[in-house]
C-alpha cells in the first residue's frame, strides 16, 4: 500500500483531530497536532506524533491564525494540512496560502471554496447546473430599507442567512416584520465574527422542511461519486443534534435524483475532495439546494458505518492526486446508522455548559462507535465548540439502530458536566421520532412535551436514598479526619469495605 503522505499537520482540535489521527496512524502517515495554550493536555495532542503550540486560547490567536499554522507546518516538514471542520476548513484564503507555501490543502481549491462559501454565488452556480434552490434573493443586502422590501416580497416568515457561512452561525428566522432589523443586526455581527464577512441575504422559509444532505467525493481527474444521504432534521438553535442514514423520509426515486444532482454539481464545479450538498426536502419530496459544505461533516461517520468507506482515507488519497479508489457501483449500503452529538450543554436551556469531567465511562460493544475527545480531568471551557464526542451506532434496520443507541447511551457517563445525552434520550422515546416522521421544527416544538414525559427512574426514591447515603459518607469521613478519633463511626460504605478486606485475606 502506498502512503498518501509521509507527514501531515492537522489544523484542528477535539474529536475531529483525533478522527484524522486515527486514519493517519493506520495508513502510516505521521501526524502533527497544533494546540492552543488551553489545550496542552488535550487528547489530540497526546495521540499525535508531534505537537506544536500555536498561541493563546482565543481561536483568533491560535486555531484561526493561518500564519502560525503555516509556520508550524513548515517547521515540522509537513507535506499537507488537514483542516477538519470549522476553523479554517472553509477559508479560501487559507487554502490559497497553503498552495502558495507549497503545502497540500486537504480539501477543495480556493476557487471552489470561494464559489460555495459565498452562499449567494453558490445559489447561482447551482441554478446554472440545473439543481433546484430555495426561493430567495439573488444578492446580499446591505441596506435596511432594501431588506424590509425584499422580506415583504418573499413573504414572512423569512430566513436571514450569512453570505459567508454555514453551520447555523449568522442565521435568524424572522416571523414578524418588526423583528427584522434587530435580527439582521445580530446576524451581521455574528457573521462578521464567524466568517470575517458580515453580509447577509434572505431566503423563503420552506415549511416543515427536512434537512437531507448528500455526501460526495470528487478527484483531480474529473471523477465524482456520491455515498448516499444523511437525514439531519433533529436540530435546535440551527445546530444538528442527531443524524441518520438512510433518511426515513425520502423514497428510492428521490434518493436517486438527489444523488445524481449532487454528482452533477460536483462535476460542473470540478470539485476536489469530500463535500456535502445540503438540501431542504418538503413533505412532497421536492428538494432544494441549501448550501454546500466544502469539507468533512461532523456527521460523516453514519455514512462510513453503512458503506464501510473510510472518508478521511479517501480525502488523503484524493489530496495526494490519486484517482478515486471507488466507483459508484462499489458503494453499497447496508443497514442503518445514527449519530448522536454529545455536547457540553444544559438540557433545559440548550446553552453551553462548563465543568471538569470527573471520570469517563464510554459505551462499547457490537455496532457501537464512539468518536470522542474526552478524558478524566478534562476542563470543559468556553473557548471552543461545546461538542465533546459523537456516539454512532449501526443496526441491521432503523428500529435496531434506535434501540442500540438508547442502550449505548445508558452506558455513557461523563460526571462533572451536563450534556445533550439527556435530550437525545428524550428524542429517542418520542413516537414521532420513532416513526421517522420528523422535520427540522420537531425538536424545538416538541421539547417541552418531551421534558414532561421524562421517564422517571425507579428512582426518585433511589436518588433520595443515594443522596442521603452520600451525605452520610461525607459527614462520617469529615468526622474521621477532623474529630478526636474515638468518635469515628467509619464509612457509610463500610460493610462493603470490610467484606472486600475479608476477601483479600482469603
Amino acid at each position: 500500500m502506498k502512503k498518501p503522505f509521509e507527514k501531515i499537520l492537522i489544523a484542528n482540535r477535539g474529536e475531529i483531530a483525533i478522527r484524522v489521527i486515527r486514519t493517519c496512524r493506520e495508513l502510516g502517515v505521521r501526524t502533527v497536532a497544533v494546540f492552543s495554550e488551553a489545550d496542552r493536555q488535550a487528547l489530540h495532542v497526546r495521540l499525535a506524533d508531534e505537537a506544536v503550540c500555536i498561541g493563546p486560547p482565543p481561536a483568533a490567536q491560535s486555531y484561526l491564525a493561518s500564519e502560525k499554522i503555516l509556520d508550524a507546518a513548515r517547521a515540522t516538514s509537513s507535506q499537507a494540512i488537514h483542516p477538519g471542520y470549522g476553523f479554517l476548513s472553509e477559508n479560501a484564503g487559507f487554502s490559497r496560502a497553503c498552495r502558495e507555501a507549497g503545502l497540500v490543502f486537504i480539501g477543495p481549491s480556493p476557487e471552489s471554496i470561494e464559489r460555495m462559501g459565498d452562499k449567494v454565488a453558490a445559489r447561482r452556480a447551482m441554478t446554472e447546473a440545473g439543481v433546484p434552490v430555495v426561493p430567495g434573493v439573488q444578492n446580499s443586502i446591505e441596506d435596511d430599507g432594501e431588506l424590509e422590501k425584499a422580506a415583504a416580497q418573499i413573504g414572512f416568515p423569512v430566513m436571514i442567512k450569512a453570505v459567508g457561512g454555514g453551520g447555523g452561525k449568522g442565521i435568524r428566522i424572522v416571523r414578524e416584520p418588526k423583528d427584522l432589523l434587530s435580527a439582521a443586526r445580530l446576524a451581521r455581527s455574528e457573521a462578521g465574527k464567524s466568517f470575517q464577512d458580515s453580509r447577509i441575504y434572505l431566503e423563503k422559509v420552506v415549511e416543515n422542511p427536512h434537512h437531507v444532505e448528500i455526501q460526495v467525493l470528487g478527484d483531480a481527474h474529473g471523477g465524482a461519486i456520491h455515498l448516499g444521504e444523511r437525514e439531519c432534521s433533529v436540530q435546535r438553535r440551527h445546530q444538528k443534534l442527531i443524524e441518520e442514514t438512510p433518511s426515513p423520509l425520502i423514497d428510492e426515486k428521490t434518493r436517486q435524483a438527489m444523488g445524481e444532482a449532487a454528482v452533477r454539481a460536483v462535476q460542473s464545479l470540478g470539485y476536489l475532495g469530500a463535500g456535502t450538498m445540503e438540501f431542504l426536502v418538503n413533505e412532497d419530496l421536492d428538494f432544494f439546494f441549501l448550501e454546500m459544505n466544502t469539507r468533512l461533516q461532523v456527521e460523516h461517520p453514519v455514512t462510513e458505518m453503512v458503506t464501510g468507506v473510510d472518508l478521511v482515507a479517501e480525502q488523503l488519497y484524493i489530496a495526494a492526486g490519486e484517482p478515486l479508489r471507488l466507483k459508484q457501483e462499489d458503494i453499497r449500503f447496508t443497514g442503518h446508522a445514527i449519530e448522536a452529538r454529545i455536547n457540553a450543554e444544559d438540557p433545559d436551556t440548550f446553552l453551553p455548559a462548563t465543568g471538569t469531567i470527573q471520570s469517563v465511562e464510554i459505551p462499547s460493544g457490537p455496532g457501537v462507535r464512539f468518536d470522542g475527545a474526552v478524558y478524566a480531568g478534562m476542563e470543559v471551557g468556553l473557548f471552543y465548540d461545546p461538542m465533546l464526542a459523537k456516539l454512532i451506532v449501526w443496526g441491521a434496520d432503523r428500529p435496531s439502530a434506535l434501540r442500540r443507541l438508547r442502550s449505548a447511551l445508558s452506558e455513557l457517563s461523563l460526571p462533572g458536566v451536563k450534556t445533550s445525552a439527556e435530550t437525545i434520550r428524550l428524542v429517542l422515546e418520542h413516537p414521532r421520532f420513532q416513526s421517522g416522521k420528523y422535520d427540522t421544527h420537531f425538536l424545538e416544538s416538541e421539547i417541552e412535551n418531551l421534558r414532561g414525559s421524562a421517564p422517571v427512574i425507579e428512582s426518585e426514591e433511589l436518588a433520595a436514598i443515594a443522596a442521603v447515603l452520600a451525605d452520610l459518607e461525607k459527614r462520617r469521613s469529615h468526622l474521621k479526619t477532623t474529630g478526636d478519633g474515638g468518635t469515628s463511626t467509619g464509612s457509610a460504605w463500610k460493610i462493603a469495605g470490610r467484606m472486600a478486606q475479608l476477601r483479600r485475606g482469603m
Binding site: E190, T349, E411, D471, L472, K474
Partner: protein, 177 residues
C-alpha cells in the same frame, strides 16, 4: 435517622437504619434492603436495592442550604438536595424575610460566556423585553433582555468580562412614580 430530600420538586422522607448486610431504608410505606459499594475512590457506586442493580455516579455540589448531589444512573442525571431540620428552619426564615428586597429585580446571565456589549447605562429606563446586553458563548451571540421594565440601578459587569450561569448582570429598581 430521618432525612428530607428534595428531588425534582418533590420532598421525599427517607428513614435509614444500618443492618448486618447494609442498610434498610423506609420511603413512604415501602421498605427497601440496600447493599452499596463504592468503586475505589471513584464517584461510581453499585447499589443493590431489593436485588435490583443500580450503578450510581455520585457528584457533590455546593448548595446554599443543605447538601446537593447529582446522581447519574444509566445516563440519567437527577439532582437531590438533602435537607436536615435546622436547614429547613433557616430556609423558611429566609422566605419569611422576603427575597424580593423592595421591588428590585436582578437580571442574571442564563448562560456562561463573555459579555460582548452592554447596551444600557445606570439611570436608563428600560421597557419589558428590551435587550440589555449581549453575552457571547461559542461564537453565538445571545441577547439578554429584562422581563419587566424599570430603571437601571446597577450594572455588575462590563464588556470583556467572563460570566457564569446565574451571575448578576444588571439590577433594575422600580420606575419612578
Amino acid at each position: 435517622m430521618k432525612y428530607t430530600v428534595s428531588v425534582r420538586g418533590a420532598e421525599i422522607e427517607v428513614e435509614l437504619s444500618e443492618t448486618d448486610s447494609g442498610w434498610r431504608a423506609r420511603v413512604g410505606d415501602r421498605e427497601l434492603q440496600i447493599d452499596v459499594e463504592r468503586l475505589g475512590r471513584s464517584l461510581q457506586h453499585s447499589f443493590l436495592v431489593d436485588g435490583r442493580s443500580w450503578p450510581v455516579m455520585v457528584e457533590r455540589k455546593e448548595a446554599r442550604r443543605g447538601a446537593k448531589y447529582v446522581l447519574g444512573v444509566r445516563g440519567e442525571r437527577t439532582e437531590a438536595l438533602v435537607v436536615d431540620e435546622r436547614e429547613k428552619a433557616a430556609a423558611a426564615f429566609d422566605a419569611l424575610a422576603g427575597g424580593g428586597q423592595s421591588g428590585e429585580t436582578v437580571v442574571e446571565s442564563v448562560i456562561p460566556g463573555i459579555v460582548n456589549k452592554v447596551m444600557v447605562e445606570v439611570g436608563d429606563t428600560v421597557a419589558p423585553g428590551q435587550p440589555l446586553l449581549i453575552v457571547e458563548a461559542m461564537k453565538m451571540e445571545n441577547e439578554i433582555s429584562c422581563e419587566s421594565g424599570g430603571v437601571v440601578s446597577k450594572i455588575h459587569v462590563e464588556a470583556g468580562v467572563t460570566v457564569n450561569s446565574g451571575d448578576p448582570l444588571v439590577t433594575l429598581g422600580p420606575e419612578p412614580e
